[in-house]
Every structure is written in structure tokens, then in C-alpha cells.
């Protein structure tokens, strides 16, 4: 546990430099994931629609397509509308992105590779990820554009509605693990993964997670057929890239969190323990990422009123019943 030793050593400028270097390293890894995550998404979507997807830039697989796209974004003119609220327009992408990167600190990737072993890790993740919505609403308002504002309002309503079932669905896991610490939760899945004991909780969590990520079928804040591009309609260049980056960093974080909570983190399947934990984590993580892409290409977007009704009238009661049953089972059988 290098991190533990570092955190408990006496503070010095060397430590600051080491932490900074680790932070930059993580940022680069995440940027690498985002780059190839987007490419994978486009490729998978292409195959599922009987297309090929990017295949021009960077060889037959389009390996440099996203890199080229990002370069184009960075070189674009940075426009700020005249009627926009200038300071907030500049601040909003930062408020949206910073929490996205902050949540990564709490995620345990393997028993050795993790940054902060926070006692309330799960709660920390959910709490901090809620801050991004403030950035989205701020940006939407600062754009001074009716489509942007509508998108921002939808983002806020959706975040509030789906955060409740998200929290409720993981309470079953917390009850069984007896801890909010993500390490303890993974440790509790040493023999049986929680997806087996908490199937209802897993389904509710998956739906609420997709809604929190603002991905299809719950991408109402940026429904292009009604709102042009939703909350980021006035953004371009690297400010827009920040919103996109925040979205994909959450994609990364949510896939990792699903792996940790329900798929046993770095624990191997029986008899396959010779494969290192990091590989297991990567495999499960990739399956979740693929699942999210699959959702995106399969489901049509829901209507705004259906979204609210589904969240409050279906997901929340199901999650509550799940908590009740879990508590009963734990009392009776464990």
C-alpha cells in the first residue's frame, strides 16, 4: 500500500510533487480511456447498425479518429455569445468537470491500485457526482438560450429524481456488506458477487446509473430532436470538450463503481485465480461499458413525463421493497 504510506508520512514538498504526478498520471489514463471509449462506442454502434464506423484516420480501425477530433476541438475558435453571462459561462464547465475527476479518487481498482481509502467511499461518490448538475444548470442559464435553459432544467429534474433510487438500490449492498467503504464491499464479495444475491438491486442500480449518466434512453437534457443540443448548445471548442469529458469520465467512474458494487471488483471467478486482479477488473469493467453502449443503441429515448413516472412510481418502490426483503433475509439467514 504505497498510497497509505505516502498519506501517513510527514508532509513535504516531495510528497506534494508525488501526489501531483500521480494525479496527472491518472488524468492521462482517464483521457486514454475517454479517447478509446468514444472510438469503441462509435465502432460498436456502427456494427450494431450494419455500418463500419470510423475507418479512415489511423489505419483500418480508425485508431486515431478521436485524437483527430479532439485536436480539432482544441483548435476551434473559442466563442462566447454576446448575451451570455460571461463569468458563469466560463466557470460552468469547470464546475461540471472537477467533481467528475474527484470521484475517481475513491474508486478501488485493485487491492493495491487505489488512491483514497475513504470510510464513506460509496456515499462520497454519490454526493460529489451530484455537484456536476450544478455546473450543467449554471452553464445552461449562463448561455442565455431557451434550449440550453430547458436542457439544464431537465438535467436538474432528472438528477434529483434518479439519485433517490440510485442510493436506495445500493442500500441492499451496504446492508449485506455492513460497510460504506468500497474496499470492504469488494472484500464481502470474495465468495459470491452481489449481482447474484441482489439481482433486483442491480437492475434498479443499472437503470438509475444510466439515467444519472444522461445517456440514451435517458438523455433528455441533450435531446437533439427537441432541444438542438440541450444545455451545451452555445458551447464550442474546448469548453464544450470539458462537458463531454465530464460525461465520459462519469461513464468510466460509473462502470468502475458497478464493477466494485455488484461484480466483485478484482475478485476472480472460481478456479481462475491465477489471472491477476487488475485483468479481472478490466474485463468486468469492459463488460459494463459494452452494456452501456448496447443500451444506447437499442433503446429509444423516453418522454419527459414517462421518465419522471418511471423513476418515482416504478424504480423507487421496487428499490424500497428490495431494501425490506434484504433486511429480512439478513436478519433471518445470516
Amino acid at each position: 500500500m504505497m498510497m497509505e504510506q505516502l498519506l501517513q508520512s510527514t508532509p513535504s514538498w516531495t510528497n506534494v510533487a508525488i501526489f501531483f504526478a500521480i494525479g496527472v498520471g491518472l488524468l492521462l489514463v482517464v483521457l486514454g480511456f475517454v479517447t478509446y471509449g468514444i472510438l469503441a462506442e462509435r465502432k460498436v454502434m456502427g456494427f450494431m447498425q450494419g455500418r463500419i464506423g470510423p475507418n479512415q484516420v489511423g489505419g483500418r480501425w480508425g485508431l486515431l479518429q478521436t485524437v483527430a477530433d479532439v485536436l480539432k476541438l482544441l483548435l476551434k475558435e473559442d466563442t462566447i455569445p454576446k448575451a451570455a453571462d460571461r463569468p458563469l459561462f466560463i466557470l460552468a464547465p469547470v464546475i461540471a468537470f472537477a467533481p467528475a475527476f474527484m470521484v475517481l479518487a475513491a474508486l478501488p481498482f485493485t487491492d493495491a491500485l487505489q488512491f483514497a481509502d475513504i470510510g464513506v467511499g460509496l456515499l462520497y461518490y454519490i454526493a460529489v457526482s451530484g455537484l456536476t448538475t450544478i455546473g450543467v444548470v449554471t452553464g445552461a442559464w449562463a448561455s442565455n438560450n431557451k434550449y440550453a435553459l430547458l436542457g439544464g432544467m431537465r438535467a436538474a429534474a432528472q438528477m434529483i429524481s434518479y439519485e433517490v433510487p440510485l442510493v436506495m438500490s445500493v442500500i441492499g449492498v451496504i446492508l449485506l456488506a455492513g460497510s460504506l467503504n468500497l474496499n470492504d464491499i469488494v472484500e464481502a464479495q470474495k465468495d459470491v458477487w452481489f449481482i447474484v444475491v441482489q439481482p433486483i438491486g442491480f437492475l434498479v442500480f443499472l437503470v438509475a446509473a444510466v439515467a444519472e449518466l444522461n445517456r440514451t434512453p435517458f438523455d433528455l437534457p441533450e435531446a437533439e430532436s427537441e432541444l438542438v443540443a440541450g444545455f451545451h448548445v452555445e458551447y464550442s471548442g474546448f469548453r464544450w470538450a470539458f462537458f463531454m469529458l465530464a460525461e465520459y469520465v462519469y461513464f468510466f467512474a460509473m462502470a468502475a463503481l458497478t464493477t466494485v458494487l455488484f461484480l466483485g471488483g478484482w475478485h476472480p471467478l472460481p478456479f481462475l485465480g491465477f489471472i491477476p486482479g487488475a485483468v479481472w477488473f478490466a474485463l468486468k469493467f469492459s463488460v459494463v461499458v459494452f452494456l452501456f453502449i448496447w443500451f444506447r443503441i437499442t433503446f429509444p429515448r423516453v418522454r419527459a413525463d414517462q421518465l419522471m413516472e418511471f423513476g418515482w412510481k416504478v424504480l423507487l418502490p421496487v428499490a424500497l421493497v428490495n431494501i425490506f426483503v434484504t433486511a429480512l433475509v439478513k436478519q433471518l439467514f445470516f
Binding site: V128, G130, T133, T138
Partner: protein, 169 residues
């Protein structure tokens, strides 16, 4: 000067700065964003006090609450308002007097305050300790608080329902 002291100083500065900005800015959304900084840095101060659970809940509750305040601020206020300062000099003088008096009282109150000896083992399993305390020692206040929230919820539903019926007639 320890790292904890520097962290406290920075967080306190951001919290106070957020508060001052909130009072002095004119647009509602600007004020709410200033409030975000105050609440988040207060959560940081909770972390310094080894109250991680309270810090996480603070952020969890207030990130939702602030978003709602922001929406209400956008929907229920006038946007062309330039916010001229109102009030006579006499009123301002009274406000100053009140602030100074409050500051003096708080200073005297805090300066001589004695918390007793510092509790040990605060950071050890503090979520579990909070849970045990709430469900064994403070279970009645906890239940009363939940009843209060339920009453507020039902009250809100009734108010919303009444409005709907009147609009229908």
C-alpha cells in the same frame, strides 16, 4: 504551521468569501453559485474534524438543494431587476450596529467556550458510531424528525392538490 492548519485556513477563506459574494452579488444565479462554494468548503471543514459521514451527507443534500434553489431562482424572480440598494441611512446605521453587536456577542461567547477534553478515536468507524448513537440513544428525536418530514411532505401534497382543483373549476 501544520498542513491541517493551512487546509482549514483555505477552506474558511473560501467559505467566508462565498458568503460575502452571495450577499454582494446582484443576480440570483450568481448568488447561488457563491453559496455552492460556501457549502462545499464547510464540508471540507467537516472532513478536517474527522466527520467524513457528515461531510458526505452535507454535499449530498446541498448539491440537490442548491440545484433546486437555482431553478426556483431562475423561474420565480425577475431577471431585468438591477437590484438598486434600498434603505435609508438610518436603517444602514442600525444594520451596522446590529452586525457589530452580533459579532461582539459571538466573539465573547466563542472565546471562553470550553469543549472539555478532545474526544479520541473520532475518525475510527465514525459512520458506525453515528448509526449506533442514532438508533439506540437518540431514537426518539430521530423518529420525531422523520414524522416532521412526513408531515411536511403530506402538507406539500395537499397544497399542490388544492391548487389543482381550483384551477380546474
Amino acid at each position: 504551521m501544520s498542513g491541517q492548519y493551512i487546509a482549514f485556513f483555505v477552506l474558511a477563506l473560501i467559505a467566508l468569501g462565498g458568503g460575502i459574494f452571495m450577499l454582494n452579488l446582484n443576480k440570483v444565479v450568481h448568488m447561488v453559485v457563491a453559496l455552492v462554494f460556501t457549502f462545499v468548503s464547510i464540508a471540507g471543514i467537516y472532513v478536517l474534524l474527522s466527520a467524513e459521514f457528515v461531510a458526505a451527507v452535507q454535499v449530498l443534500i446541498y448539491s440537490g438543494a442548491i440545484t433546486i434553489i437555482m431553478l426556483f431562482g431562475i423561474m420565480l424572480t425577475r431577471h431585468q431587476d438591477d437590484g438598486q440598494s434600498t434603505g435609508s441611512p438610518l436603517r444602514k446605521a442600525f444594520a451596522l450596529l446590529g452586525t457589530v453587536a452580533f459579532g461582539a456577542v459571538m466573539y465573547i461567547g466563542i472565546r471562553t467556550l470550553d469543549f472539555g477534553s478532545e474526544a479520541v478515536g473520532l475518525h475510527d468507524k465514525n459512520t458506525e458510531q453515528i448509526g449506533i448513537a442514532i438508533y439506540s440513544k437518540y431514537v426518539i428525536p430521530f423518529e420525531l424528525a422523520s414524522v416532521l418530514l412526513l408531515v411536511a411532505l403530506i402538507g406539500a401534497v395537499i397544497l399542490a392538490k388544492k391548487d389543482d382543483k381550483e384551477a380546474g373549476e
